[in-house]
Every structure is written in structure tokens, then in C-alpha cells.
Amino acid sequence: MGVLDAPPAPYAPAIVTPVRYPITGRVLFVENATPHLRQGGMFNDGCGSASPDYNVLFNGYPTLRLDPQGNTTSSSTNSQQLTLGGSPQTLTAASSASFVTTSAQTGSPTVDTGGGYIVLNTPSSSGSWQTTSGNSAVLSYTSAVVSGTANNWTVTFSGTKLVVLPGSPDTSITTANIGTATCIVNNPNPHAGNSPNTSGTVTKRRIDDEYTGRFGNAMWFRPTSKSSASANTALISVSLYNRDGTNQNAARMMFQLAIGMNPASNWNNDNTLLWYLDNAAPIGGAQRYVPFAFTTKNAMSQHSWDPVGGSWDDAGVWRYVKVRADFSVTQYIDITVDGTVYSSMAGRSMVSISSTGAKSMHFSMEYAQTSGTRRFINLGKVVGTAE
């Protein structure tokens, strides 16, 4: 047998390394809440609390319960709701259509006229569906014109097409319920902002680094309490950011929760639209968050542990996120959510804003709410990597 020949059977087959393990990079630290430490090695720099939870375990350890404790946020900057106008139309990835919307608000709608995204988020009532399929969809446009007067605005988008994101249920949509159905342009509402949102929990590990290169922030989390993943009220995001004394550069992904799909199952809160924070995408000043995938086959806010609400499932359902970014060029590498690696943001600039905050590399998860209803999520096994 030559030295280059495979060894004789029986031998172990090649292992397909599971995606959810931080297979890329070198592990810098692993944070689990332990009986010995208040928050593992992490600290909540926002409002509310990140406290060890001995009812909800992960990886054999207590987890951190991230609980805003009733603090609320209103991060809806640059989110604009419009009403579908014109006539029903069919849009595909190959379209370059005119897409007409209206607004009865007093002031002129704020729309990124240089291009951006339009989200059709299906409500539960079929009488208000934006599409004949009843599924949510993301559109992109290349330019927009706002015309009209107070309480009678028209916003006409040009170069509009369907963005068939990973997980999109449709490759073609036909609009419906013109005059009543609504859409959102610019950013989602609410969204996780440019800076870490300290109106909620911002749970982090810091290390010093001089923008030397590539890092990863991996973690498991579980929406624990009842309705912890409710539409338009709960904000879950994961970040990697550093500051140089003048600017903050941040890679951030967020879940837009409870996206409507047809059929609307008993678990409709499961469906999510995933966004990442870009520096200026695609053009102009209003757009910052960019949608990159739907997840419709994953659980979200199921099997709650919430004794006050009457739920006692301490196993729950856990989700995995890993954000990777290259700080030497301040660009994204990729984002992993559960079993899928998304790379549409590869090479895109992470957001850069003026900031004189702590000059250190942050690995964080943020959880905030726009509602004072008491909710919490749990965080386990945070792994920081050098990539």
C-alpha cells in the first residue's frame, strides 16, 4: 500500500462538520453563564437585566435571561408606511416596473428616492393581503418620485422588481387589495438602529483590537417568554462592532418577527425576515437595513417558558446566529442563521457612524421592545472567534 492510499476499511468516514459549530476561525472565548459568575463574562450595557437563568439551560449551563424589564424603545427611524395604489400588477425578478403607492398623511412621505426596498408584510386578514398568494414579499426599486399635497400624496417607484430572497415562497407575485393594503419602505419598523440600542438589553463581551482583521460572533438564543417574538414590538439583533475614537463600525443583523405567510398557521410568529445593517444601501441617506432572507421553516417563540403566563417548557427551541466581518476593510463576510450561511452581504460595508464611545471590539446581542409588556429571551454559549 502506498503512502498516499486511503487506509483500509473499517475507518471513519469523512465528517461533514455541522454548520452550527463555529467551524471557521480560532476560538477566542466561550461565554456560558455559570454558577460562579453573574453573567458569564458578559455585561448588559443597556437597560434591564441579563441575569443567570437556572430554569433555562443550554450546553449544560445556565443561560442569560435578557429582560428589558419594561423599558421600551421606539426605533422606527426612516420607516415609511404607504398604501398600494395604481392597478394590480405582476412582478418577478426580471421586472423593471412602475409601482404606485399613496399616503394620506399630512407631511410629505420620507422615501429614499435613490433606490431601496419595499416590504409587503402580509397581515392575517385576507382582505388586506398585498399579494394574491397571501405571502409576504420584498421588492427593490431604483428610484422614486414623491408628488401631491398634504393628505394626498403619491409615491411612484421605478425599476421595481421582486427580490427572490433565500426562503422566499414566491418567484412571482400579483398585487391585490389596491387602496387598502400597505407596504413599508426604507427601514423596517421597528429596527435595531445604527448604535446598540441601550433602551433595551445590550449584552456584550469586549476585547481590544486595532481593526486588525476578521472576527466572528456566534451564539444560541431562545425567545423564552410568551410572545417574546411578537410582530412590531420585539427587536432581536446580533452585532460585532469596534470604535477607533472617532467612528464606530458595526456589523449587525436583525430579525423582523412574525412575518405573514399563507397559510397562516398556528405558529405564524415563526416566520421572519432577516436584515443586515449596511452603510448606505443601495443609494442615498434613508436606507440602512437590507433584507437578506426569509425563514419560514424554523420555529420562533414556540414552547415558551413563562410561569407568569402559564408556560413551563424549559427545553424551548434554540436558534443559532453567527455574524462574521472583516474589520481591516470594515466589510461583512457572511451571516449564518440556524443551518444556512448567507453571503449576499459579503463585501458590503458595515455601517460607519461618528462615535467617541469605548475604543474596543464588542461581541453583543441586543433585545429591546417597543411595548412595555413583560417579555424576555435567553442567550447561551456565546463564542467569539478570530477568523
Binding site: R38, C47, G48, Q69
Partner: protein
């Protein structure tokens, strides 16, 4: 081997972690945010009042969370050293009557720590502002 750690007992709702570098001045009666002590056997409370404005009293008491309902009620436990009730008309954390000026190195002890979570409650009477800090030295005897 015991494992001790220090928690902030004066953080109120809406104050961020980064702002805990300084003591917070309170102008009205209120309470801390919820302090979860699920791995804790004993608690040692430390009080320092660094400034007051006007004249009056400030009294501290301990409320306990009912995990079934999420509501807080007057903790029925007593100080392990003095035997004083930690929440009652004739008791309180640190002392029974409250404080009329600055003070330091005032202690109170909860042993054992039966509850899941607590709030430190303060009642201000007369003062226009009281600046204070409360720390909890919590002990896990199995640490």
C-alpha cells in the same frame, strides 16, 4: 468554597449599564429594577448616602417577587444579624426609621436568600434629592 460577587442594588428602570459609573440621585420614592438571585444563598447589603438636599428621611425596604404572578410583595424575612424585619412599618433594610443625612458603611444581611428576585424600595420624605449607592455582596456557598 464560597463564591461571592457584587451586584448593583440601586439601578433604576431606564438607567443603562454604562451610566452606573456614578451614583444616581433620586428625588422621589421608588425602587430598583428587579434583581435576580437564583444562585444565591446569602446577601449582604451595603448602603452609602453621599449627598442629600433639604431635610427629611429616606427609608429602605426589600420587596420579593412572586414567581407565579410576577408581582412584588413585602419581603417577610428578617435581617440575619439584628433580627429586624426587612420590610415593615417598624423595620427595613439597614435600620427601622430611615436616614436623615449622609452615611456610609451601613450593612444589612439576608441569610438565607429564599426568593427568586427582589427589589430594593426607598421612601423619600422631605428631601428634594438623595444621592446614594446600594451594593449587594451575594454569596453562592456551593461556588
Amino acid at each position: 468554597m464560597a463564591a461571592k460577587r457584587i451586584l448593583n442594588g440601586g439601578q433604576v428602570l431606564g438607567v443603562t449599564g454604562v451610566n452606573l459609573a456614578t451614583l444616581n440621585a433620586q428625588t422621589t420614592s421608588g425602587n430598583s429594577q428587579e434583581i435576580y438571585l437564583t444562585s444565591v444563598d446569602t446577601v449582604r447589603f451595603y448602603l452609602d448616602i453621599t449627598a442629600v438636599s433639604g431635610s427629611g428621611t429616606i427609608k429602605f425596604e426589600l420587596d420579593e417577587r412572586n414567581p407565579q404572578t410576577g408581582s412584588f410583595f413585602a419581603c417577610s424575612d428578617k435581617d440575619a444579624v439584628s433580627g429586624t424585619a426587612l420590610n415593615s412599618a417598624t423595620g427595613g433594610i439597614f435600620n427601622t426609621t430611615g436616614f436623615t443625612g449622609t452615611t456610609s458603611n451601613v450593612l444589612s444581611t439576608l441569610d438565607p436568600c429564599y426568593g427568586e428576585a427582589y427589589q430594593v424600595k426607598w421612601t423619600i420624605s422631605g428631601f428634594t434629592s438623595v444621592t446614594f449607592g446600594i451594593s449587594l455582596l451575594v454569596n453562592d456557598r456551593n461556588g
